[in-house]
Symmetry: C2
Subunit: 425 residues, 2 copies
């Protein structure tokens, strides 16, 4: 990133030396993990560029939008309806982070036994290295897991304008009503923040922008069914991650462009891994930038990832919002309908998720499932026990991994993953 951004970072209140050191580490990791891949689609250049400029040009864009009177909303979860944000011309950005930072400071505020994702978000804030959180006009939390629900009570004192959205725990009528009520409340909050009245036309436009982004991702996912695989799991994960940060229209165009290229590759049977490479479905907790540890180990151990059953993956992007409604009520209801289908482990029971995993396993012609849980993430950890059992009953090879953001377990993980890949070959 160019030095032109130093003034901007300083104005945002970043700790420049700490931020420099973070960028250096990330840059190194990215080079080692991403740039060492062979035969990547040319279209990845755009996403490489976005990553290079993720704290630079993208932040400049957000600040330009703010200067033009628009708002930036930060969020930690795929349950925050981007359609409503877009309907006010505001921009939604993801605040989940995938690296340890300022851990000592974090553990003064949160128990050591808190999941890495929550600790990381706190660390980036406390360490003053996240230009996204510093650019946000409002941060939206949600009562998904106990960890986040209770951590927001602490976060509210270290960020300004934290808004918390309640969440249901069961897919009952009352659960749906609660979600609907919260989305209407959020709509009002967005209207008050932006001064924009969300009418049907605006809401429909918001829905269409976000649906187009999802459609582009669906197209990309479908192409990964090909054999040999035309794009690495690491690259696909990167696109899934950038989905949370980039301008949605530009992003959709870029995904469609790389899909055009990939289609041609498929015609020529031009894969990034040779034919017959064991195909892995990843399932479980979200992987935020720069959490590339597990996919990197998998794809340097002789296998390729063909799908992500994850918030940063299909759980986050599947299903469109029906945009045929004509009133605000109809469109809002369509939004609720789409989000209420998300098969997150916070719901009980959550059997839809198991069905989706099996469905993805079959659709992507996978050879095995690696279930990824963040340590101390109770919903996914406990659910993984049931899922492992159910998959094994269906003779689907399954490996259950529990890890965090540290690099200490790389050797151990590699040993387990190599053994698993050997077994499914």
């Amino acid at each position: 990133m160019s030095n032109d951004y130093r003034k901007m970072w300083e104005d945002l209140g970043l700790d420049l030396p700490a931020h420099d050191s973070l960028l250096e580490t990330l840059g190194k990791g990215y080079k080692e993990i991403y740039m060492n891949q062979k035969g990547r689609p040319e279209g990845m250049e755009y996403f490489d560029f976005v990553i290079r400029e993720v704290h630079g040009l993208r932040i400049r864009e957000l600040l330009d939008e703010k200067s033009a009177g628009k708002k930036v909303i930060g969020a930690f979860c795929v349950f925050v309806p981007e359609e409503i944000v877009r309907a006010t011309d505001a921009t939604l950005v993801g605040l989940c982070t995938g690296a340890e930072f300022a851990t000592e400071e974090v553990e003064k505020l949160l128990p050591r036994n808190t999941c890495a994702l929550i600790k990381s978000a706190f660390g980036f804030k406390l360490g003053k290295v996240c230009p996204f959180i510093e650019s946000a006009d409002m941060i939206v939390g949600e009562n998904t897991c106990d960890g986040k629900k209770k951590a927001y009570e602490i976060l509210k004192d270290i960020v300004s304008d934290l808004y918390v959205m309640d969440m249901p725990q069961m897919k009952s009528n009352k659960g749906r009503e609660l979600l609907s009520n919260e989305y209407w409340r959020f709509k009002e909050v967005m209207e008050n923040l932006t001064g924009v009245n969300i009418d049907a036309k605006r809401l429909k436009k918001g829905i269409q922008i976000v649906n187009n982004k999802r459609r582009a991702m669906h197209r990309l996912y479908a192409l990964r069914k090909a054999e040999p695989v035309p794009i690495s799991g690491l690259d696909a994960l990167l696109i899934n991650q950038i989905c949370f940060y980039d301008d949605p229209v530009r992003f959709s165009n870029s995904v469609n462009r790389i899909c055009d290229e990939i289609e041609k590759r498929i015609e020529k049977k031009d894969g990034v891994f040779h034919e017959g490479t064991p195909r892995i479905l990843i399932s479980g907790c979200p992987m935020a930038i720069p959490n590339w540890k597990l996919p990197w180990i998998i794809e340097t151990s002789g296998a390729v990832i063909v799908g992500e059953e994850s918030c940063v993956g299909e759980r986050g992007t599947r299903n469109l919002v029906d945009d045929t409604g004509v009133t605000v009520e109809e469109l809002m209801d369509a939004i609720v309908e789409r989000y209420f289908q998300i098969d997150c482990a916070i719901f009980t029971p959550n059997t839809e998720r198991l069905n989706h995993i099996i469905d993805m396993y079959e659709t992507y012609d996978a050879d095995g499932v690696i279930h990824y849980s963040l340590q101390f993430c109770q919903p996914y950890l406990i659910e993984s026990m049931t899922i492992e059992k159910a998959l094994e009953e269906k003779n689907i090879p399954t490996l259950r991994i529990e890890t965090d953001y540290s690099m200490e377990d790389i050797g151990q993980l590699r040993t387990r993953i190599e053994a698993f890949i050997e077994q499914i070959k």
Copy 2:
């Protein structure tokens, strides 16, 4: 316990050798911890008897009730409204347990990083050593924490008749509506199970029985304000624990009887600890039988416990249900009103709890607060960080303890607790 019960335990499907060994361990622990106390009120004899017969006579009573066509309901949480159970002449018993059992078997079903209370309940079931769970006609789970919510999905396959009650996460109008809806649903389930139609008369009677139990506990709590302290924290905890198992009417009478005795002791300034003994308020996670570790360490380290801000304590028993309503609707609403005030850490925000801790600290003239969290109990662990900070800002000495049911940390806990008591003397 007499051998007469062996046939009964066998019929319930208990593993007799394992159960014998459990009873032996518990008996030994009870003798060491409870019977070694000096100058206990005579009224404790009744509660000692109940403990001796907790797997014997009490189970015989429950089975006799079942033979007479009544039902036994097991529950894991103070949010299950006993009033509604009582209104059908059924009996509610607590299923939380406070000792490790069959841990190896449990960890095949649940992640190692699950709180001791959940693991223990699973262990007692898997190890076939809990006559309460085996006697229950229905077990009621509730979506309080992530751990329990997700564990019930697994428990449902190892017990018969698990019924899960949804729970709100915020004290909003929608949250109250959800709780109300769930209590009405529970009423219907109880009616179907028992064949009893819950009319206003029955509901009012249920409310009065449970209120009387609470009133007796409130009376006991109030007497602990005296100096010197007329009853140990261990004994008070035992009464709080037995509150979940005993026949409510007999229990209330026994508590009132010991209160009569304690009142006389107070007049004579006859304490169980000498005047000036540092007074501790315990706050945090529930302590189920036989989880006496922390209170035992505290009361053998030169301090006395004067109050429990806990589900097994005031959080569980404070506030009565208004019984003045005349219709089922009015009485049901009064039940919802009372339970919706419970300041459990599953709610966000939960500032009422902090206020209650401060209030108890002052009311019981405590010298310090020991916050007790079960390891991996995220709601209480995270909340304890805020509470510690807030109490220290008020110059209330606070010690934050995180532990489980193992005995391995006794030495370390004793060192920390002795140092804390030294500091507040």
